[in-house]
Symmetry: C2
Subunit: 284 residues, 2 copies
């Protein structure tokens, strides 16, 4: 497994592989791997000849009051885990090589970044869209895998790729969960034992909504209020949002939605802000 | 000479040429060619194996009160001129193929777009940066030639390419002029005969500034006021700006500038807004 630090090295490697007819699958990450990351890497391995991952804690996607400095890092452990999964290259640049002096360009997805996590994290998706655009141009992958846990991010990145005519495919990866259903996240380490016990309320709320739709409930507000109630039972839970939105435009669902819609949650437990979601298949 | 309408056709053509080892030079245009455009195409032909040009009157770079509908168009004449210069492909897409429904991404160069033409044309450079990003991803050129007449545009596009790690070189092309020194522009057709007679005041102002610097004048304000006076002598001239700025950041020049600086003008003559510029080589 190669570790490349400089954008020029990374691009030269990819261009050479492409010239030899090999396909490249890419998983951009901020490191501190859990099984969810590894599942995305395995998925990329299944779909392409080579897997490149990036480990880059991107400063521009953290707001001024967010956890950039505290974001957990462990490159040694990460690289061992990546190697075991069969990753071919880790691209691990320094911030100064990604954002040299004079850097001033932002990729802005005007509508998709406004709702859900965009409300409380206004700079976040600008940073994500911009860094993904840069990483795609440096790594030159044929496809990139993004986890469905960050569903809004997946839609934003897919929109950037289409809107800027970038030559790669964005592939969604299923959310990987702990045995009790908590979605895996690097930020789960911030949970106290008591908060960790309460956190599976998110998946219970999502599963309850799935059951309601299976049983024929079609009223948006009934689903949202029952899902909200399940989370509010937890003493440490503070809800950021519980929302039902259209796919792929993330408009507010109508009162009697038809077809696939996204039920998305963001809930704070102390220092940890957890997100989760599911796609609800309303009858057409 | 090929004329391609669809982005997919264009990209497939370029990928095939690249795979065969041929280099592609690109000149994006809004059509209605004059000798200035043809000079950029000849320059691209000198630098690359193949020349692709685009003809696309990009709606997103016109403000609501600007001349989108009136912008001069003549595809038949343009394609004959391009063929004579040896252009290999004209990419001539429809707006709906460049901006399909749901399109919502903007490439924003945060600082460079503020001064000079950015003051009175606030949406212009967002539109330019975004469409260039798209065109580069569709045409996949090794280099793209941009005229120095639109010097701010040249700096903006070069900044986008560097900031987003796009794999092409931006090459400046010298400004092509009428015998009396007026910079060629598709918008010169808007000039009345009297305005056309007055318009060379722009190049006279620039040349006067060059002579001042050659003769050792180093005071910014003296140069600006003498250049301004030459334009103000014209009865129909309305000055938008006469400014001295740093290269490549376009900061306001200091009172006693050192090294290369951009002297840039924008002047309205009736319906026509003309721009021109020169690089002044102050002593280091």
């Amino acid at each position: 497994m190669l570790v490349l630090k400089k954008p020029d090295q990374m691009r030269a490697f990819s261009e050479e592989q492409r010239a030899q007819g090999r396909t490249i699958g890419f998983v951009p990450t901020m490191g501190y791997f859990h099984e969810g990351h590894l599942a995305l890497m395995r998925q990329a391995k299944d779909l392409a000849d080579l897997v490149v991952i990036s480990i880059f804690v991107n400063p521009t996607q953290f707001g001024p009051s967010e956890d950039l400095a505290a974001y957990p890092r462990d490159f040694e452990r990460d690289s061992q885990m990546a190697e075991q999964v069969g990753v071919d290259v880790i691209f691990n640049p320094e911030p100064a090589d990604i954002y040299p002096e004079g850097f001033q360009t932002t990729v802005l997805v005007n509508e998709l970044i406004k709702p859900l996590c965009g409300v409380n994290r206004p700079v976040h998706f600008k940073g994500v869209a911009t860094v993904c655009c840069k990483l795609f141009n440096i790594v030159r992958p044929h496809l990139a895998v993004f986890g469905e846990k960050d569903y809004q991010q997946l839609l934003v990145v897919d929109r950037v790729v289409r809107d800027l005519n970038m030559d790669l495919e964005i592939v969604p990866g299923p959310t990987f969960r702990e045995p009790d259903g908590l979605a895996m996240s690097s930020r789960n380490v911030y949970l106290t034992p008591e908060q960790r016990k309460q956190a599976p309320a998110l998946i219970r709320a999502l599963r309850h909504a799935q059951e309601m739709v299976e049983q024929g409930v079609v009223e948006r507000d009934r689903i949202l209020s029952e899902a909200t109630a399940i989370i509010q039972e937890q003493s440490e839970a503070q809800i950021d949002y519980v929302e039902l939105r259209t796919i792929p435009d993330l408009h507010v669902a109508s009162e009697m939605p038809k077809g696939r819609h996204l039920l998305a949650l963001a809930v704070r437990f102390g220092k940890a802000r957890l997100i989760d979601n599911t796609v609800l298949p309303f009858p057409e």
